[in-house]
Structure formats: C-alpha cells, structure tokens
C-alpha cells in the first residue's frame, strides 16, 4: 500500500544517511535528530485509520510535538529569511552552512546545486502568492535533511512559514476531525499522483535515495500538475521546473 511504502522508505533513508554521514561526522547532530523526529511525527499524523476514527489524544500530542520542534527551529534560525536579492549572497553563505549538514558526501563533492540557489530564490520569492503559498510552505514545513531540494524550501520568511505551517497542521486536524470519505480519499489520491511524478523527476537529479520526498509529498494538500514533468534536464531547469509544478497546483 502506498502509505506503508512511504514509511519503509523513511526509515531506510535514515539508516542510509547515517551511513553516508559517518564519513563526515561521528555523531548525528542535534539538528538531524530533531529533523528525523519532525519527519516521524508528520508521518504519524498522516497515517489516519481509514475505517475507524483516529485517536484524538494521540493526534493532539503529536501535533503539539511538531509545533514545538517548529518553534525551536524558528528560534534557532534554521529557517532563515530571504529578504532581497542583494542579500542573496549573504543568505547563500548561510544556506551552504546548514546545507553541509544535510547533504550526502557525493553531492558535496559535486557541489552542483549551490549556484542554483541564487536564481531559485528569486523564483521562490516571486511565487509567494496567496494561492500558492500554502503549497509552498507545506513543502517547507516538511524538511528532509538528506534532501537538498527540501533544504531550499526551508529558506523562507519564518513568520509566514509559521503561519502556513500552522495552517497545514490545522488542515491535518480538520481532516482528522471531519473524516468524510470524499476528503480522505481525495487527500490520498492526490498524493498518489504527485508521488510518482515528482519522484521520477527527482531521482533523475539526485543520486541520493528518495527518503525525504515521501514526507514532503504527504503534506501536499492539493494535487500537483503532473502533465509535463518527466524530463530531467540541467539542475537549474529542474529546480525551476519543480517550482512551477508546485505553484500551478
């Protein structure tokens, strides 16, 4: 089943990254642990029982844990601001430093994606529209540390991200509370579509495993337009491509 498959990938991913990081760091950092806790929590929140009502107490406790992590991350400055392009250079440095923690050793050697950040940020900022902000920030709220791609999602106005994160959490709650067959099925069916397409795309880009993606995909609340996204070209184009797709939805 789709959902179970997700979970397996997550945990496999964790083991994988631990191994690759071993070369860089001896102990998993606090940030990584916190990140994996956040991922785990979001997976738990999404795994609603189809037939029987989910346990409200458990859901509330997990949601509170997620909020707590998010608040701490905001305070830490892990979620950084992108104000203007002129500050792009400075923010780029910051990006790189947090990035190193989360990249695999292979990507570090290649250093492919760093130059892409500047342009990407611009697109990102431009798309902070009302209709798309939710999708974007839902993506940002789910951070896969090993996934460079999602790392970029993190670079957002923390104020906004907080609000939008809250919104995505709230959505999860609404789903939990008002479980009508339509909404639940829709949620899952939407995720289903996007999963396969984004995944195909991203595997072309990244040599890494797919672990982070499943988390990000789960919290997508609206379907992604999957028509024209099967090509993986140069890195820059790919990044733009992803942004377009998410924005369209």
């Amino acid at each position: 089943m789709f959902v179970r498959g997700l979970k397996r990938k997550c945990f496999d991913g964790e083991e994988d990254i631990e191994g690759t990081l071993a070369g860089i760091k001896a102990i998993p950092s606090y940030n990584l642990q916190r990140q994996s806790l956040l991922d785990m929590s979001l997976v738990k929140l999404q795994l609603c029982h189809m037939l029987v009502e989910p346990n409200l107490c458990r859901s509330v406790l997990i949601a509170n844990t997620v909020r707590q992590i998010q608040e701490e991350m905001t305070q830490d400055g892990t979620w950084q601001m992108i104000n203007t392009q002129s500050a792009g250079q400075a923010s780029l440095d910051r990006l790189v430093s947090t990035d190193i923690l989360c990249r695999s050793s292979r990507e570090q050697a290649e250093g492919k994606h760093v130059p892409g950040y500047g342009t990407f940020n611009k697109d990102f900022e431009g798309d902070q529209g009302q209709d798309s902000s939710e999708t974007m920030s839902t993506a940002s709220s789910v951070q896969a540390p090993r996934n460079l791609q999602s790392n970029v999602w993190e670079m957002e106005n923390p104020q906004e991200s907080k609000g939008n994160f809250q919104k995505s959490l709230d959505q999860i709650f609404e789903t939990l509370e008002n479980k009508s067959p339509n909404s639940v099925e829709d949620l899952f069916s939407e995720v289903d579509n996007s999963y396969y397409d984004l995944d195909t795309m991203l595997t072309g880009m990244m040599s890494n495993t797919k672990m982070g993606h499943c988390d990000g995909l789960e919290t997508f609340s609206s379907p992604t337009n999957t028509a024209s996204n099967s090509n993986c070209k140069s890195d820059l184009n790919e990044l733009d491509h992803i942004v377009e797709i998410l924005v369209e939805s």
Partner: protein
C-alpha cells in the same frame, strides 16, 4: 479469548467484571466458603458472560464504531440484582444481572411443558409451588445512554448519590441521571471554537467518593482540574488546578507526551487522588495544588528510550492505576507483563510478573528486577530484552481484601496476598 480492555471489582468484591475488545463482558464470582472444598475459597469462577456492545457503523461519517468496552463501573447493590454500567466509544449501557434459581410449578392453566391444559379437565384449583432449579444468571440491558458524545468516551464514574453518573470523552463531560436516557447535561466543554486551536484533551474523569458535587478530570498536558458543580452549570472553570511545574533539566521534545495523564483515581478516603503518567505515579493531596505529595517511578529506565517508544507508539499507551482498600498501597502496570506495587508507608516497592511460567497455582510470585546498566545479575532482565507488546494496562484491587486482578493482554490473572 479477546484482549481485555477493562477490569473492575464491585463494591463488595464478590464480583469481578472484565470487558474485552470484542464487546463482551465476563463476570467472575468469588467462591463462598465451602467445608468440603476448603481450598476453593477465594477462587473466582465465571458467573455470567454476555455481549454488551456490538460493532456499529456511523453512516453519516462513514466510520466504524468499535465495540471494545472502554470502562465498566458497578453500581452499589440495592437489591438482589447487580447493576453495572459498561461503555464503548459512544454508548453507555446499564445492565442488570440477576439470578434465577427457583421455578414455579403447578400452574392451573398450563402444564409443566407449557402447553395449555384443557379447561374441561381441570377439576380443582391448586397453588403453584416454587421449586429449586439450576442457577441461571441473566443479564439484560435496562438503559441505553446514546448519542451524547461526539468524541470517544474514555471514562464513566458513578456519583456518590447513586443516582447520577458522568461520562467523559476527549473534549466534553456529560452528567446523566441513571433513570433518564434521553437527556444529559454537559458540565465540561473544552472544545475550542476553532478545532485548529486544539492543543489539549480530557484523558480521564472521576467523581469524588464522598462529595457528590465534586469531580476531577485530567488532561493530556498533565494537569488535573477539580470542579464543583455548585459553582455553575458549566464547570469550565475549575475550583482547583493541580499541576506540577516542569523540571527544566529533564525537558525534551517528549516532555509533554510523557506528562499526559492516563488515569486518575481518588483514594477510598477521599483525601488524596492518584494520577498515572507515562513514567510515574503521583499521589496528590486535594488541599495542595502546587505539586504531588508523593511520586513513584514506575519504569524510569525507559526515559532514555523515549524516541524508540515514540516511534513504535508505545509512548501513547494508557496505563491505569489503583489503590488498595486501606489506601496504603498503590499498583500499576508496566511492560513485559510486569506490574508494580508501591507501599506508601514503608516506601518499599516490588515488581511482579503476570505470566503463565511464573504463575503456577498457589505458587508465590517472585519479585523481578530490571537491569538498567552495567553488569546484569542473575535473574535480572535487561531493558532491551523487555517485551513491549506484553503490557499490563488494567489492574484492579479488591475493595477490602488483598486480592488483585491483573489483565495481561487476553489473560486475566488473580493473585492474593500470601498472608491470607
């Protein structure tokens, strides 16, 4: 046999009721003293079995309503019959359990088979005589209290007035009269106007054993609210709020989850109450809100494993706790089929195991010990060898004697103090 989901002695201790995941209630009765079988005294044998709740389907929400019995509470006995309340997630039922051991014989209009007698043949009137028959125990539903809870019922509690009772779900508490099924009063409502703002739920509730106007409810944030029904119709404002300030040195992302209270029980004398959170049991003096008067660590060795326990969902297990009749000892369950008892006076504690291997009939239970680190001694069990699927969530203590009932998944164990 199905997984046992609740265990409860009645007021005299002669009857022990268990509810299971399949909606069944099994009642055990204590054997009376019998000269011909002296050793059988104290044994509990099956008295009655009945299907209390059936699985239902909520058509509006397209959701199944589980038949699992969440709680059973006995009513004090007022006549020959016994009454108990049993509840699943949505509906509470009042059951009457009565005995029939006599049968009338010698009717005028029908014969012993039940067939009508030919009136022409009846020459004389006779008075029917009561004759003994094999004991038959019948359970019949007398009241059904339904449609009052949007969320899952976690507690029911009979008031000391023996006329009313409360039922609590995740966000609301309702007050019922035992005779009236079409109306209940909402006395606590913590549902926020916007569900998106929800951060706290009700986890347990209980009436005070003597004061019929007082009750408490515990929350997922580790607080206990004492409410007085004389204050207002809606008891959203507590009279007292019991909360222990958090220890900043042990703060982690799991602090809130492990502080969530899974059970609250008043002491028999009504002066104290006990709360169970994930790692400890706390005894509170009703006159002191700032902190508990006693704290007992149930399985502190799990504190370093919280992340794994979060991952496998064990951190959300809801353990219950109970007092002995004298309020001198408290008991609660743990993992690996272990259960713990704490003597409040001597401050001694013991860990025992409820399993087939260690529980031969009449054998004395051996205290168990969990090795927390370093060299494991003989007979100790290391933390990593603990079986987290074998959890003892439900235990009960006889109201006056030292008999305990321990539910280990789908088995019920009964132990008595070897001093008896």
């Amino acid at each position: 046999a199905d997984i046992i989901s609740t265990v409860e002695f009645n007021y005299s201790g002669d009857l022990l009721a268990t509810g299971d995941k399949g909606g069944r209630v099994v009642i055990f009765q204590r054997e009376q003293e019998n000269k011909s079988r002296p050793l059988s005294w104290g044994e509990y044998n099956v008295y009655s079995t009945f299907q209390s709740h059936e699985p239902e389907f909520d058509y509006l929400k397209s959701l199944e309503i589980e038949e699992k019995i969440n709680k059973i509470r006995w009513l004090p006995q007022q006549n020959a019959a016994h009454f108990l309340l049993s509840t699943n997630d949505k509906t509470i039922k009042l059951w009457k359990i009565s005995e029939r051991d006599k049968r009338a014989e010698g009717y005028n209009l029908k014969d012993e088979d039940g067939r009508l007698r030919d009136p022409v043949r009846i020459k004389e009137l006779r008075v029917p005589i009561l004759k003994p028959m094999d004991l038959m125990v019948e359970a019949s539903p007398r009241r059904i209290f339904a449609n009052a809870h949007t969320y899952h019922i976690n507690s029911i509690s009979v008031n000391s007035d023996y006329a009313t009772y409360l039922s609590a779900d995740d966000l609301r508490i309702n007050l019922w009269h035992l005779e009236i099924t079409n109306r209940s009063f909402n006395i606590v409502d913590i549902k926020p106007p916007n569900m998106e703002e929800l951060t706290e739920v009700i986890t347990a509730a209980e009436f005070h054993p003597q004061h019929c106007n007082l009750f408490v409810y515990s929350s997922s944030k580790g607080t206990i609210s004492l409410c007085d029904m004389r204050n207002a119709a809606l008891c959203d404002h507590h009279s007292k709020l019991f909360e222990e300030p958090e220890d900043p040195s042990s703060r982690s992302f799991f602090s809130e989850i492990i502080s969530s209270i899974s059970d609250v029980k008043f002491s028999h004398n009504g002066r104290y109450m006990m709360t169970r959170d994930y790692l400890s049991v706390k005894v509170w003096d009703l006159n002191m809100e700032k902190r508990p008067v006693e704290t007992y660590q149930v399985h502190e060795y799990l504190r370093s494993k919280l992340c794994s326990l979060y991952e496998n969902d064990c951190i959300f297990d809801k353990f219950e706790c109970c007092w002995n009749g004298l309020d001198s000892t408290i008991m609660t369950g743990s993992y690996n089929n272990f259960f713990r008892m704490f003597d409040r006076n001597t401050r001694r504690d013991v860990t025992l195991e409820a399993s087939r291997e260690s529980s031969k009939a009449r054998a004395v239970l051996k205290p168990r010990k969990v090795c927390t680190g370093g060299k494991r001694k003989k007979d100790e069990i290391s933390v990593d060898s603990l079986d987290f699927n074998k959890k003892i969530l439900h235990t009960a203590w006889h109201p006056t004697e030292n008999f305990i009932a321990v539910a280990a998944t789908n088995n019920l164990y009964l132990f008595q103090d070897k001093g008896n």
